[in-house]
Symmetry: D2
Subunit: 298 residues, 4 copies
C-alpha cells in the first residue's frame, strides 16, 4: 500500500506575530510565511509550537490557517497544526484545516492529565475518522507532557491516514527504533534541531524546524548534502549551524526567532504574555552566533 | 503585617461532571459540591486539576465558579482555579472569580513554552494587580511543565496578595525549604496526596485534595490528629488511607474519583474526551481498596 | 517469629581518618569512635559510606572493624559495613566481622554492572548462609548504582537473618511502602539525613547518620521528641539542624564531617585521594551553619 | 602540537573469563584476545567494563595486562584499563601498564563519593605525571557515578598526555559539543554501542566496543563504509547489527558476550559472582538476534 506522505526535506515553521496590544498580526504573518517559501523551504507548518498554537483562540487559529494557505498558494505543501486538549476541538480544527485546503495536519496529544495509550489511540482514531488528509503524529513529551512509546506510535500507524511521525524527544535511539521496527517505508521526521545530522544519518525523511526563519541556506544545504550521500560535507555544514540550533531551542523558539529576525532587520512584531522578549544579554549572544554562522558559511 | 490566609485544614476539590454528550452538568456538579461541604471539608476548590480546568471553555469555567459559590453559600471559604496559558485570560477569570464572591484564587503558571522566572513573576504580578482577594501560587511541574524554585516562590510572596503556596512536586524537602527559608508565618499547602503525613509533620497549613469525594472521614481524622499533636494516631490513620491516595493519583484524579463515586452509588456523570473511564480491572482494584479503607476504619 | 533487631534510635557513622601520607590512622579513629559513644549515640556503624569503605584495602577494613569493637567494648551495639563488589569478598568480610564480635553487618549491593534482582537476592543469600548475626540490607542507588525495589526488599526479608532495611533513596514514599506492605514489625532505618523528620513520622525504627560527629545533642533530642509522640517539639528541633544536614549531604559526608570536626577543634586527620578537603569558602559556610545550630539550640 | 593518538577504527574489548571456581582463566583469555586480533579489530582494550576490571584483585589485573600484551605481540595497539577508586592504586596500575608495554591507558574517574571537578582534574593530573604514554579519559556516568561535563573534559585535555576522550553517556549531543568546542583535532571515541552510526556521523575517531567478540565483520564493515563517506551503506550495515548492540548493552556486556560466544560454539568460561549467566529465555532471544544478523548480512 502506498502511504500518502506529502512532505520531505526542510519543513519550515513560522512564528505567529502579534501587534503591540497582543492581537494576532495577520498581514505581518503573511510576510513571514512568504520569506520561508521564497527562500526555498520544502513545506510550511503553521500553528506549531513555534506558532504558539496553544496561546491562540479558535478564531485566531482559523485566521492563521487561512492566511498560510492564501500566501503559500500551492507552491509547497502546508502542514497545519490542529492540536487541542479535547478531542472535540481537535476534530473541529482538523476539519477546518482540510476544508481550507491544508495538505496534512499535525497532531500532538496535548495533555494536562497524562493520557493512557488507549486514550491517545482513540483520540487519533476519532480525528482521523473525520478527515481524509493525512496526519502527522507528533511526539514531544517536553511540551505535551506525554511520551508516546515506539509501540504506541506503531499502533497509531495502523490508522489509515496516520502516515507520518514527528519525533522530538531529542533521543536518536527513538528514530533507530522507528526505522528498525516499522520498516523502511515509515516516514519519520526530526523535530529536535540539534539532532538534525544524527536524524538524517538514521534515515529521517525530513526536518521540521523554525531555523529557516533565520538561516535557510544552511538548513537547505544540509539537506542537499545528505540527499547526495555526502556526509563529510553534511557534517561541516551541520557544525556551522549547531550553535544557532542549540540557542533557539534553549531560549524557546518564539522568543529566539523573533529576536533573530529583528537582528536581521525584519519586523517580527510582539509576543503574547506571559512570553517576554529575550534579554539584552541574550540578544547579544544571538547576534554573535548569527554573525559566526555567516562568517563560517562564506 | 498580617497576611490574608483564608484556608486551613482539608481543602476539597470537586470533579467537573459531564452529561453523556460531554457538556458540563451543572446540577450534578452542585450535588457533588454539597457532599463535600456537608461531610465537613474546611474549604472548596473548584476548577483545579481535578475539575479539569484546562478542558473547559471560558463560559463553562464561569458557570462552574458561579455554581460553587451558590451551593457553598458562605458555609466554608471557596478557592477558585483561574489558571490559563495567557496572562490576559488569567486576569479575566481572576476578576470574574472575585466579582462572583470567591475568597481566593489559585494560579498555576501553565506553560507550553517553559517560562522564565521573570515571565512567571510578571504573570503573577499582572494578575495580582487587578484583584484584591489573595492568591495561592501553585507549583506542580507534572501538570504545568514548569517547576518554580523555592527562590522564585520566595520572590512571588513579595507580591502583597500572593499569600499562600501549594506545593505538589511530591518532594517533602521543598516544604522543609519553604518553612526554613520563608519562616513560620508562610502558609504552605500540600497538594501531593501520598505526602499528606510528611507535609503535616513539616508544618503544612492545609491539604489540598480530591480524596474527600471518597473518604472524607479519614481525611478529616488525619487533620484532627495532627492538630492535636498526636502523631502516633496520625500515622495509623494515614496508613489506612495510603493505598487509596496512591491509587487516585496514579490513575488520574478525575478518572479515579468518578469511578469511586460510582462504586459508592453516587452519580458522577461522564468524562470529557480524550479522558476515558477506568478499565474494569482498575475499577475492581479501586473497589478492593475502598473496602479495605472502610474495614480498617471500623 | 521474633526478628533479631539490635538497633534503634541514633546509629552513628564515624569517618575513617588518614595520616598525612594517606594511611589509615587507627589511634585517631578510636578517639572519634569514643566521642560518638560518650555523647550518647545508640549504635556505632564503622565502614559505611562515611567511613569510605570502598577506598580501603582488605587489611585496612579488618583493622577498622577490630578497632571499633575494642573501643566500643559492648557499651552499644556495633553495625559493621562489609559490602564489596564480589560475593566472595563480601562473605569474607562478613565472617570476619562476626568473628570479631560485631552485632550485625550492613550490606549494600555494590554494583559496577547493574545487578539483576536475582543476582542481588543470591548475593545476600550467599552471605547470609555463612554468618549467624543479622544483616541490614542497605538501599542507596546514588552510591551503589542499583535501586532495590520495595518488592525486592520484601523478598530479601524472607532470608532469615536479613532483618533490617536501611533506605537512603531520599524518597519518603519508599518508607510508606515498606511500612504498608511489610507490616508493623519490619524494622526500617532512614539513611537520608534531610528526611529524618519525615522518616520518623512514617515509623522508622532508627536514623543512620554521620551528623552525631558534629551535633549529637540535636540528633538525640529529635529522637527523644519523636519517641515521646511530641511532634511539635520534633519539628522545631528538626528545623534547627536541617541546614547542617543538607550541607553535609551536599558536600559529601567524609569531607564535610572532617571539616566540621576541625572547626570544633577536633583533629580528624586527612582524606585519601582523590577526595580533597572542602574549599575555604565551603568551610566558611559550614562554620556559619554550625554557629547557627548552636545559637538556635541555646 | 601533534597529539599522540594511537587508536582509530574499531577498538575491541575482551571479556575476562573465569574458571568454574571463579579464578581468572588466563589461557582462555588469550584465546579470546586472539580471536579479536585475527578477525581484524584495530585495537585491543583489556580491563574495561567488559573485562570486569573492578571485580579483579591487583594481581589479577596485572596478569590480564601482561597476557594481552604477550598475545597481541605488537600486531595492533593495546589500551589498558587502569581505573581505581583511589589515586594511589590508579597510579600503580598505570605505571605497571606502561612498563608492560601498553600503548595507552584508559581511566574512568570511578567514584563512590561523587567527585568534584577539582578532584577529578587532580586525579588525572597525578596519574599523568607518573607515566609517559597517552591517557584516554573515559566518561560513563552509568558505571562511574560521575558525569564529566564537556567543560571538565576540555580542561583535562590541557594535561599533555591526556589526548583522547571516550564518551559513553549515550547522548550524541555530547559528541557534537566536543567536536564544536574542542576543534577538529580532538580525538573522541564512542563507547555507546547503539550510538555507533550517530557518533561516526558526528566525527568520532573510533568505536570502543565489545561487539567484535560476536560480530566483527559487521562492526568493521560499518567503519569501512564511514571511512569511505558512504552513509547509505553505513546506515544499512548499522541497522543490521542494531538489535544485537541494544541487546548486549541492556543485558550487561560480560553476561551477554559470554552467552553469545557460547552460542557460537566458543568456550568463554564462567562469570564471577554476583554476576550470573543470562537466563534461558534471554539466551534464546540472543540466539534469534544473532541468527538474524547473519541472515541479513548474507
Amino acid at each position: 500500500m502506498q502511504k500518502n506522505i506529502p512532505f520531505k526535506g526542510i519543513i519550515a515553521y513560522p512564528i505567529t506575530p502579534f501587534t503591540e496590544n497582543e492581537t494576532v498580526d495577520i498581514p505581518l504573518f503573511k510576510q513571514l510565511v512568504e520569506r520561508l517559501v521564497s527562500s526555498g523551504s520544502h513545506g510550511i507548518a503553521p500553528l506549531g509550537s513555534t506558532g504558539v498554537l496553544p496561546y491562540l483562540s479558535d478564531e485566531e487559529k482559523e485566521a492563521v490557517t487561512v492566511a498560510t494557505l492564501q500566501q503559500v498558494a500551492g507552491r509547497v505543501p502546508v502542514l497545519a497544526g490542529v492540536s487541542n486538549l479535547t478531542t472535540e476541538r481537535t476534530i473541529y480544527h482538523a476539519k477546518f484545516a482540510e476544508q481550507a485546503g491544508a495538505d496534512a495536519v499535525m497532531i500532538i496529544p496535548m495533555s494536562y492529565w497524562k493520557l493512557t495509550d488507549e486514550e491517545i489511540f482513540r483520540h487519533y482514531e476519532a480525528v482521523a475518522g473525520k478527515i481524509s488528509i493525512p496526519i502527522m503524529a507528533y511526539n514531544n513529551p517536553a511540551t505535551s507532557g506525554v511520551d508516546m512509546s515506539p509501540a504506541l506510535l506503531k499502533r497509531l500507524l495502523q490508522i489509515p491516514n496516520v502516515t507520518m511521525i514527528k519525533e522530538s524527544t531529542g533521543d536518536v535511539q527513538r528514530m533507530h527504533y522507528l526505522r528498525k521496527e516499522l520498516g523502511d517505508e515509515v516516514a519519520f521526521y526530526n523535530g529536535s534541531n540539534p539532532l538534525a545530522l544524527a536524524a538524517f544519518a538514521a534515515g529521517a525523511t525530513g526536518w521540521c524546524t523554525a531555523a529557516p526563519n533565520l538561516i535557510p541556506e544552511l538548513n537547505l544545504d544540509l539537506y542537499q548534502a545528505v540527499a547526495g550521500n555526502n556526509y563529510e560535507a553534511a557534517r561541516d555544514i551541520f557544525y556551522r549551524q549547531l550553535r544557532l540550533l542549540q540557542f533557539i531551542v534553549s531560549k524557546g523558539l518564539p522568543r529566539a526567532i523573533k529576536a533573530g529576525l529583528k537582528l536581521k532587520g525584519i519586523d517580527a512584531g510582539y509576543l503574547r504574555s506571559p512570553l517576554q522578549p529575550l534579554t539584552a544579554e541574550e540578544t547579544g549572544q544571538l547576534q554573535n552566533i548569527l554573525r559566526d554562522c555567516v562568517a563560517e558559511t562564506v
